[in-house]
Symmetry: C2
Subunit: 324 residues, 2 copies
């Protein structure tokens, strides 16, 4: 079975770790999981290229993540950032640990040697044992793109990098809109469109529907591939009871004037979504009649509960006909 | 009093720390010390620009050096390099600690932003408090240069980066000659020639006469400035009893067919040297009759003994007439 998933950071990574756990409990069913990662969060810090969502996926699936915070490395120290602060280098609001710096340094070195981001992610994934787990991790595009957030301040509107809005401002300043610098000249990374077209199942984990999944959908060709694939596309709501389980999806949806509800989020995917997994408390909402909705507990408090969610998504997909 | 010194790494840094200690004990004599640092040892590792001699000078004069090894930072950890090894990045024979990586990252960032190496070294020196100590640290040139070592191997001659020969091979493979890549288009950094011309005293610390001092002397214009300055030029022998106190000066001198003696080293500076400080055990050798030679204990086992050496060099300079 070939499963293709679009993923952002923590929510996507935890769901996919659950998916791998679930697949391991089904003996005799070989699988290939292709993960298409958002790279709109990428940022150059201290001259080094940082890919937060890719790294969260690597660390989580590879067993190196800091469980408590959901991103970054376990057993982390912060000598490098302390030195950078002593030299007066900025920004200091983006926390990078020493082990994490190792990833950013080697990625920047390889990119500087002329390797594509796909090639670099492939190398990083090898160190983290993803191929052995049947996982192929692809960046959504090899073109450097960056999500910027348009906000109002005293002097009118200005655009800040997504990470500045998300991390430094904690999404507390209302976003007027999101603009992805570089997307006009971006192409999907090698394998991305084929992974969607040739999948048996396409999954949308409970990642942020605007700044994670939404950014991947804006890569030229991706949305068309999702509309055209014969595979059922099953999404998992990132909202439970009208609020995001984690992160600032509410602030992102507000910028788009989309209701902060599983109905509102499903509407963003209406042109290609066939199955929609929502929390039990959201079962009674009025969803699009063409959508197959299933309600289960949507909490990823452990690998096992995340695995149960992923299993429910696969079960729902198995009940849906191939399309087209 | 304006003192200008040409310096390599550990030996130069310890001598200059001694010099500053000595100057502090002479109240009422304001001083300005300009240090012209060798940058031929510079190397790009993991995409980051590393300047070993500059950093040893910064860390030693700034109070952050690892005293035992003479270079690198005290209280160092090695998480970053461990990660780079896990990713299969090379080389692994050049040990870089986490705090040290902070310096290389910020330097590479600033260079990448278009600052000259002089500007970058000035910023780094500010963090380490060098200006407050009356020290101005200049790289010998802002042009990227790299000392390469020509060695024989099975397939004939090949050139390796100086650091590979010095650190990985521990200078155990005979050097046929030294070649400085980039030197043909190099110019002295701003202030270098004026610091030599306008000095009251020029000092040559006991740095390696071939791959530290010798490289600085090969920057176009530097040797002529030393020949032309009115200031006495006083050198300190890096050899005691026919062997280097530290490092591989013997292997470097052998490549030039220069005797591994204080007489041999002084011969390398014959066209501009006016005073020569040697160890007491080397007092009886036959030096050039035009050279004012003074014998004192040449061991830098502490800041105080290094200070005494530096004081002896200044005393010798004070006895020499201004030239020209």
């Amino acid at each position: 079975m070939h499963i293709t998933a679009l993923a952002g950071g923590v929510g996507g990574a935890r769901f996919l770790r659950g998916l791998l756990h679930h697949l391991q409990t089904r003996p005799g069913s070989p699988h290939q999981v292709t993960v298409i990662a958002n790279t709109g969060d990428d940022i150059t810090l201290f001259g080094l290229r940082v890919c937060p969502d890719v790294d969260t996926l690597l660390y989580t699936l590879g067993g190196g993540v800091h469980e408590g915070q959901g991103w970054g490395r376990a057993d982390e120290t912060h000598s490098v950032q302390g030195e950078l602060a002593a030299y007066g280098a900025s920004p200091q609001w983006f926390g990078l640990g020493d082990r994490d710096f190792g990833t950013h340094i080697v990625r920047s070195q390889w990119l500087g040697q002329g390797h594509t981001l796909s090639e670099v992610v492939g190398r990083l994934a090898t160190r983290w044992g993803l191929p052995e787990q049947g996982v192929r991790l692809l960046p959504m595009t090899d073109t450097p793109v960056e999500t910027h957030v348009v906000i109002d301040d005293e002097d009118g509107q200005r655009a800040v990098h997504f990470q500045e809005w998300w991390v430094r401002m904690q999404a507390s300043v209302p976003a007027q809109r999101f603009v992805v610098a570089g997307m006009d000249r971006a192409a999907p990374a090698p394998g991305v469109l084929d992974a969607i077209r040739q999948a048996d199942v396409v999954l949308l984990p409970p990642s942020n529907p605007v700044v994670s999944i939404g950014i991947i959908l804006s890569v030229p060709g991706v949305r068309d591939a999702l509309r055209g694939t014969a595979a059922p596309v099953v999404g998992v709501s990132p909202l439970v009871g009208g609020a995001p389980v984690r992160g600032h999806a509410d602030a992102c949806l507000a910028a788009l004037d989309v209701p902060v509800t599983p109905v509102g989020v499903a509407g963003l995917y209406a042109d290609f979504l066939s199955g929609w997994l929502v929390d039990e408390g959201d079962a009674s909402a009025r969803y699009d009649a063409r959508l197959q909705v299933r309600a289960v507990p949507l909490l990823m408090t452990s690998v096992e509960t995340a695995g149960a969610m992923a299993g429910a998504a696969l079960d729902l997909a198995a009940e849906l006909p191939r399309r087209g």
